[in-house]
Amino acid sequence: MRRWVVAALLLGVGCGGPPPGVLVGQSAHFRLYVDPALMPVAPPFDGDNALAALETEWSDVQTMLHMPDGIINYYWLTTADAEAACGSPDEGACTKESALEIDSPTLPNPHELNHAYLYLRKQRKPIPLLAEGAAEAIACGQPGASLADSAPWPGLVAEDPPSDEAYLQGGLLARYLIRTQGIDAFLRYYEQSPERRDPALFGANFHSFWGVTLDEVWSAMHIPLPGEAVADQKICPCSLPPPGPGATATNDPVRDPYWVVSGPEAMALVPPPTAAQVTINDCGGLGQTQTGQVVLARIDSAAPWYAMAPANVMTGPYLADDCAGTIPYTLPANAVSPSSPFSVFVELVASSAASAQDVYFQLGTPFAGKVGVAVGEEICGSCGFDQGSCQPMTAFASVALPGPTVYGRWTVPGGAVGVVTQPVVLSPP
């Protein structure tokens, strides 16, 4: 949003013109213009898919911001044309709010869309630290800021144009307030906040609204709590419909930009052939992301996680409370090869409970190799755990695969914060 006023003035006196976009279509909330230099648009955003992706984003964020209906003019431009339209080479993208116009080289651009959504809610101009912070708060699969990096807030309040630090710290502040006070309280605060870059006024208004000083909140938001990551992520609404029971592999960044990992069934998440691994993220943006070539996850729906596209998702009891009720996830026959030194990491992820609990999994392993077994795990060639040679490990060991199917039991420790993870490493013989 920086300097958009200058850009608008330049346009107004004839020093510029509308961005070089061709109107390609209109949907319920967007009018899409595409730079001729980007045409023809390649999959997956070809045809009506670009508008569909924007509508998917709208419907997701609308569950948090509750913005009223409106039409946003979205100009999808080359980087050079976006900079020209925004009036500055420093501006990768911008929102001209009074015209509800976004000029961006990416689609969808959550940051600029958040500016437009917030302006649709209320036509006002909070100071850049807060306006950019709010725009940095909500997005899926995007990094936030390091909690350890801090800068004094009064200087950031006064800044214009806002520095990169103002974006980072403003985003951290907005996300902290949303996480701790809720989105509705944050929006009430945002919509009454000062429109003057005045540190004393901003601090007093913050105290007046929240009942705690900004100094106190500024300190608290830079301290990771137990179980939290040292850097946060943006908040994902995680409102898109979850895959139904028994759903199988899909890969549709337009309509399913992410998959929510929650609910009674566990999921197997696998990257498509073009991606080396799949990552799951905490919807609230505070948990440490978990990455594996295969992720088997069973997560409490009260604190959901999600995997960004591209990802293939399968639902089913891949992690279950009893061995017999578990279905196997079968790895490709060439996943582990004697001629390759590479191992396969299968990440087990489960929400922690008050007390320890056993979960079972099965891996189809149509190849010869070894499996790394950690303390607390037990690997067997059948469901006959704790019998014969099937005993819990007392120290990490790498043992030969017991057969074409590995039966495993993982004791999830109780009392932990958030999710608990356990890698299962399959390696060549």
Binding site: M1, R3, W4, V5, V6, K125, P128, P152, P154, G155, V157, A158, D160, P161, Q192, S193, P194, E195, R196, R197, D198, P199, A200, L201, G203, A204, N205, H207, S208, F209, T213
Partner: protein
């Protein structure tokens, strides 16, 4: 400095005094009787010092900054040496600096407007240089414009000022001179919360043009 140079300097000084003084003397002798209508235009630099105190226990701040100032005063002579007038005084503090909790923060791309409309009284002290003193009382609007992202907010208050200066006659009914003004003002604001009170002092050094 040798004797020759001292003589030259003395001659230059005398010449300067005579050049400056001669037209004044001639004008004084030919000055028409004062008109009933009084018009004064003034322009010059001003310096603001302003405190901001919220109604809550939160820390306040002190802002300082330079401004161009402009004044238009229109009135009439009610007594031979007394003028009663209405006055509009405008000043815009550019990129003020705010001192807050031990730090100092410049607010770039901002203009802090201090605009007063009020009544002014001015006493002509007479004499060769046209000395005058006066005071004004008025309503003040204080507006903060952010030229970067376009926000504009206005508060209301009161201002009282005293001024004094000299205004030798330069031509006919016109006088030109310099004046100093000290304006004390107070205004309040309550949007956004918390409510707050500001006191300020605006010192101006003005070049004045008066028709009387």
């Amino acid at each position: 400095m040798n004797r020759r140079l001292r003589r030259r300097a003395a001659a230059l000084a005398l010449a300067a005094v005579s050049v400056a003084g001669a037209p004044v003397a001639r004008a004084d002798s030919a000055a028409p009787p004062p008109a009933r209508v009084f018009l004064r235009l003034a322009v010059g630099p001003a310096f603001m010092v302003e405190s901001w105190s919220p109604s809550t226990p939160d820390p306040g701040a002190v802002s300082t900054g330079w401004a161009p100032a402009l004044e238009v005063t229109v009135g009439k002579r009610v007594r031979p040496r007394w003028v009663l007038a209405g006055t509009l005084q405008v000043a815009g503090v550019i990129d003020r600096s705010e001192s807050f909790e031990g730090g100092s923060y410049t607010l770039p791309d901002t203009i802090h407007f201090l605009d007063t409309i009020g009544a002014l009284v001015d006493r002509d002290l007479g004499g060769r240089y046209g000395g005058h003193l006066g005071a004004a009382l008025g309503l003040m609007t204080v507006s903060e414009l952010d030229t970067s992202f376009g926000s504009f907010a206005t508060s209301w208050g009161f201002a009282a000022s005293v001024h004094g200066g000299i205004e030798p006659v330069v031509r006919g009914r016109w006088r030109m001179g310099v004046a100093g003004r000290l304006t004390l003002y107070r205004y309040g604001s309550d949007d956004p919360p918390p409510s707050a009170t500001s006191w300020g002092l605006l010192s101006s050094l003005l070049l004045t043009f008066t028709r009387q």
